[in-house]
């Protein structure tokens, strides 16, 4: 099976960095005025430093494209952390194996309690999150979790360890509709510096996961880079290339991109290449202009002000009221969490802010009524 | 023995092959394709393909067309 690895093999990180740096304002304007679908070269112009003087035009076009495709809506979802057990050592992650924190994997009962609580807040779309420890959380565990929660929610997405095609098909049958798997960085030669041990240290296995998801027929695939590790402009060009490759190959599948951003000075891992909020906005608009149909998702890592302001300008999906620890909704002790959140408003408060902007909060992505 | 070639009747000796038919029709073999009863007979097998009375032989070649 040919995968994105074949495409990546002929891409050169430094060359692409230089190509981005050499983009001019004319390249940006040409990309903004493209009559046909933008190509990756256009995307390079939009994320380039040259585009920083065209942010208003980018925001305006992004708003128009988002409105046309998604209307005045904002989709809300909430993560439920099922487990923080992990055999990987990732330098930026609170769940990293060498961190001496209490480890927990939810039982079926605990899952139901968390699920019913967040359901009572209005959520119908839930994202199930785990670390990567196949001894504690294997595909059987995940399948039973999906089956257990299926009656409670309209939609179940997963952010768990990369799996095989056959495992993804099992999850699909069980009722999962979307899987998010973030490459973190496409800079292959330094990938190992961040992912020192565990299966996540194997670059190719992770890189080819979206191919396996496409092969399995997953309805939606979520991509992302962990912003702050390597140069965000270069990483996003790799991601855009990956996205375009996937869209053409797995044309029955929907795609989503998220923007997990390591914020500096939050007491977590100190990002080597931090991204400002202005740059994050540029990146969001670049993706929207590159791909008008793409779902763009923003988590509670970002501040309430930023999230409220960027809504309608490109972002279509927001998490809300999130806790990043297993059992985090039903307990008050949050010592198990993966990262600290920056928007701690309740679901209701977020929904009200959305309505105040003239947008409709949507609690589920699609209705499963026609699916077996 | 009589076969139908491109809609018209052709008389052939018993045991005649596709090769014999093409020669009898004085066709330049280059660029031809022959089918007997809607089954392709490759050029390499023309001299082996014996025809029988009533066989439908189609002989085509490329021509102008969009």
């Amino acid at each position: 099976m040919s995968t994105f690895q074949n495409v990546l093999d002929v891409m050169d990180w430094d060359q692409i960095s230089q190509a981005i740096a050499s983009k001019t304002i004319h390249d940006v304007d040409r990309a903004l005025g493209r009559r046909s679908q933008l190509d990756v070269d256009d995307f390079m112009a939009l994320v380039s430093p040259a585009a920083t003087t065209r942010l208003e035009a980018m925001a305006s076009l992004s708003r128009e494209l988002t409105m046309r495709r998604f209307g005045k809506t904002a989709q809300l979802y909430i993560p439920i952390y099922l487990s923080n057990e992990c055999t990987n050592q990732c330098v930026y992650c609170g769940f990293s194996a060498e961190n001496e924190i209490a480890r927990k994997t939810l039982t079926a009962n605990e899952m139901i309690q968390e699920a019913e609580l967040v359901r009572s807040w209005g959520f119908e779309h839930v994202l199930l999150v785990t670390g990567e420890d196949a001894r504690q959380v294997d595909v059987d565990y995940l399948v039973s979790a999906v089956e257990l929660l299926r009656p409670i929610f309209a939609q179940i997405s997963l952010e768990v360890q990369p799996l095989s095609v056959a495992d993804y098909q099992r999850l699909l049958v069980a009722g999962a509709t979307a899987v998010y798997v973030y490459q973190e960085t496409y800079h292959q030669s330094v990938y190992k510096n961040y992912h020192k041990k565990g299966k996540k240290a194997i670059f190719d296995w992770r890189l080819e996961t979206p191919d396996r998801l496409g092969e399995a027929g997953m309805r939606k695939i979520g991509l992302g880079c962990l912003i702050g590790l390597e140069d965000w402009r270069t990483d996003s060009v790799f991601l855009a290339t990956h996205l375009r490759y996937l869209e053409k190959k797995y044309w029955r599948t929907r795609f989503s991109v998220a923007f997990p951003r390591l914020r500096p000075h939050t007491g977590e891992f100190e990002p080597k290449n931090p991204q400002s909020e202005k740059e994050l906005a540029q990146l969001i608009w670049a993706y929207r202009i590159f791909d008008p149909d793409l779902e763009l998702s923003l988590s509670t890592r970002e501040s309430a002000d930023f999230r409220d302001s960027i809504l309608g300008l490109g972002i279509t999906h927001l998490s809300a009221a999130s806790r990043t620890d297993p059992g985090g909704y039903t307990t008050t002790d949050h010592s198990l969490e993966q990262f600290s959140i920056n928007d701690d408003r309740s679901a209701n408060e977020v929904a009200q802010a959305i309505r105040a902007k003239g947008y409709e909060p949507v609690w589920k992505d699609w209705d499963a009524v026609l699916e077996s | 023995m009589r076969v139908i070639c491109n809609g018209s009747e052709q008389d052939l000796a018993d045991g005649a092959t596709v090769q014999n038919l093409i020669e009898q029709l004085e066709l330049e073999p280059r660029g031809l394709a022959v089918a007997v009863n809607d089954a392709l007979v490759p050029k390499t097998r023309w001299s082996l393909a014996v025809l029988f009375a009533g066989d439908r032989v189609t002989v085509i070649r490329a021509a102008q067309g969009g």
């Binding site: 679908q37 002000d305 302001s309 | 021509a63």
Partner: protein, 258 residues
């Protein structure tokens, strides 16, 4: 202009020429030379037993490019498979323009039979270029079935109406992993240029060149239109509307307040 690659073969010309409807072999030769085409479609016909060879085909003997036999005249997948085998035998090529139009009036292609035939012929090793409606989903299905390129129509064949299917062609071009050759309906060099500007990989022109007052001149005009359109596409067309100076920044002001 970048070369066009189909099934690993490289072409410097992005203008395919249909060989039908020319008034004489010489007219076709002149158009062929002037257009600098490297791909000419030919049909299959029953041999005239009265011995006359087709002078048009004699004229093509010296053609250095790729002959692309078509299956025109067939009405379903079964007939198309048979025609394809005959074409491969007659011309010694695996290249095939797959066209199935059971409808004699508009000559519109049958998508269901075309997909069926493509699935079978791809397994037999043909390099298949299916002529089809400008249907984006069908194009993806054909791509998965092994088509080497897709040939969506711009308008009914021979109608010279230009890119009536423009909106669909844009989607096809945007999502195709194989070359997109706009076929049928291209009645003027401007139509061909427009298709190339949109990002089509090639165009196929027949009637407009064949029935022109001077096929040679028209062939040259199409050559120029196709290369101009392609070059424009590759070099990046300018913006639709000039970017106005940004006196105010109502949408980005929040970034400065954060």
């Amino acid at each position: 202009m970048k070369p066009l690659i189909i099934a690993g073969h490289s072409f410097n010309s992005r203008l395919f020429l249909g060989s039908g409807k020319f008034s004489s072999p010489q007219a076709m030769l002149d158009a062929m030379n002037a257009s600098e085409t490297e791909m000419i479609t030919v049909a299959l016909r029953r041999v005239d037993l009265q011995g006359k060879s087709d002078p048009m085909l004699e004229a093509l003997k010296n053609f250095k490019g790729q002959l692309l036999p078509n299956t025109s005249g067939v009405r379903d997948a079964k007939e198309a498979v048979f025609a394809a085998q005959m074409a491969r035998e007659a011309l010694g090529t695996r290249w095939l323009k797959l066209e199935i139009h059971p409808d004699p009036r508009w000559l519109l292609p049958d998508p269901i039979e075309t997909l069926k035939a493509c699935e079978i012929l791809a397994k037999e090793g043909f390099i298949i270029l299916p002529y089809i409606q400008a249907d984006p989903v069908l194009c993806k299905r054909l791509e998965e079935a092994g088509a080497a390129a897709v040939m969506p129509l711009g308008a009914p064949i021979g109608s010279n109406q230009g890119l009536q299917t423009r909106a669909m062609l844009e989607i096809i071009i945007a999502q195709s992993r194989v070359p997109v050759v706009v076929d049928a309906g291209i009645g003027a060099p401007s139509h061909a240029c427009e298709a190339m500007e949109m990002g089509a990989d090639a165009v196929l022109v027949n009637t407009a060149i064949a029935v022109a007052g001077s096929p040679a001149i028209m062939g040259r005009c199409f050559r120029d239109a196709v290369s101009a359109g392609r070059d424009a596409y590759e070099s990046g067309l300018p913006a639709r509307h000039a970017q106005s100076a940004e006196a105010s920044s109502p949408l980005t002001a929040f970034l400065d307040k954060l």
